[in-house]
Symmetry: C2
């Protein structure tokens, strides 16, 4: 069975977990705190980030985008209409553009700040209380992204087009982290909310929604499918 | 002819220019200052970053990693031994891992700081002198990366293995920007220096080495092939 080194509130790890689950690929989950800088973990990925995927053949794929490409090339290529990275070139570009949008831009502007301040600071030295100025900037930034999701899903069935793709899972993974922390603004955009309700209802989402971090109660609507 | 929207000292743009040149793909270069936030440019890429590649078929590929995948799938797939993203899975993973290392990690720790402080501040409001504390951090960080390049190229012919790949061009693109600004520490690692001498000697590098930014003299060894 493959292994996924992950953190339960790392958005990039959540993206990969959703993809694996959607494809029906079982993986042993190993929780990793990257701040521990475990030598065995750094030997798998010198960059020391979650997630890292280790396949049955021994191949080690580090980082969410790289894992997504690897999964596509090894498990996804023959899925036909269920393939999460579409075959057709314009749709491939749009899917990868949006995966990048959430895994890089949204992360830089929202989730990295929220998770670092509210989650990672709890167990990594020097620790301390969240810097609320930083949290407020992340909360302001996420509103623009909610409207962008609304704009896209008003014009399309799913984020990158008519079919469900990696883009939806990347976006939903990041938003689910913000939602856990009570920082997803569900009053901002109705279309974005409806899109999230749809993707949140997929069976792949269930393990994420049942997760509870020690000492960190999830936001009010986190596990509700109808909110 | 395809079009590449780029900035001459943007490391991600340089990576794509090297790849296009290595593959013999001519492209019209349009210099873009992302800080201008031109509506026509934002219509091509809502994220507003360089580079953006527009192919003859009208497809718009934004962002260095996405362009690299697109070029591989449209121009690279049939290049055989000259293909810059190898066919074999372990080599594909290693190549993409290192492309990510330089385009994300090296950028976050080195080039983003150097270019923002020393180049972009010159023409984007509010402007001002470079923050030398930030520049010093970038100069300290780049030394670790030089040793990592040395470590890899001591064990292998090129960065990701025996063959030249995207990884070499991504790394060299970022280092060439630091080198232009006089911030590449050539005293740090002999193997890294030898690797850079080899890749810098390739014809694809020539247009980059002949570039001069208005009012910004390049570092002493920038254009020398033997330094």
């Amino acid at each position: 069975m493959p292994t996924l080194y992950h953190h339960p509130l790392c958005p990039h790890s959540r993206f990969v977990r959703l993809v694996l689950s959607e494809y029906g690929i079982d993986a042993t989950l190993i929780e990793e705190r990257v701040s521990d800088r475990r030598p065995e973990f750094l030997a798998l990925d010198a960059a020391g980030r979650t997630p890292v995927f280790v396949d049955d053949n021994g191949l080690v794929a580090p980082g969410a985008n790289l894992i997504a490409e690897y999964i596509d090339e090894t498990y996804g290529a023959e899925r036909g209409a269920q393939r999460l990275l579409p075959q057709e070139m314009a749709a491939r570009i749009e899917t990868r553009r949006l995966v990048d949008w959430f895994n890089v831009k949204f992360f830089d502007e929202v989730t990295n700040w929220l998770i670092t301040e509210k989650v990672y600071k709890r167990f990594a030295p020097p620790g301390g209380a969240p810097d609320m100025d930083v949290v407020r900037v992340a909360r302001a930034n996420i509103r623009h992204h909610m409207r962008y999701i609304g704009y896209l899903t008003n014009a399309r069935n799913w984020l990158a087009g008519d079919r469900l793709t990696y883009a939806d899972f990347a976006a939903a993974a990041h938003i689910s982290c913000a939602d856990y922390l009570g920082d997803a603004p569900w009053d901002e955009d109705e279309a974005a909310k409806h899109w999230y309700q749809r993707i949140k209802s997929r069976p792949a989402f269930r393990p994420l929604l049942s997760y509870r971090a020690p000492g960190l109660t999830p936001g009010r609507y986190y596990a509700e499918l109808d909110f």
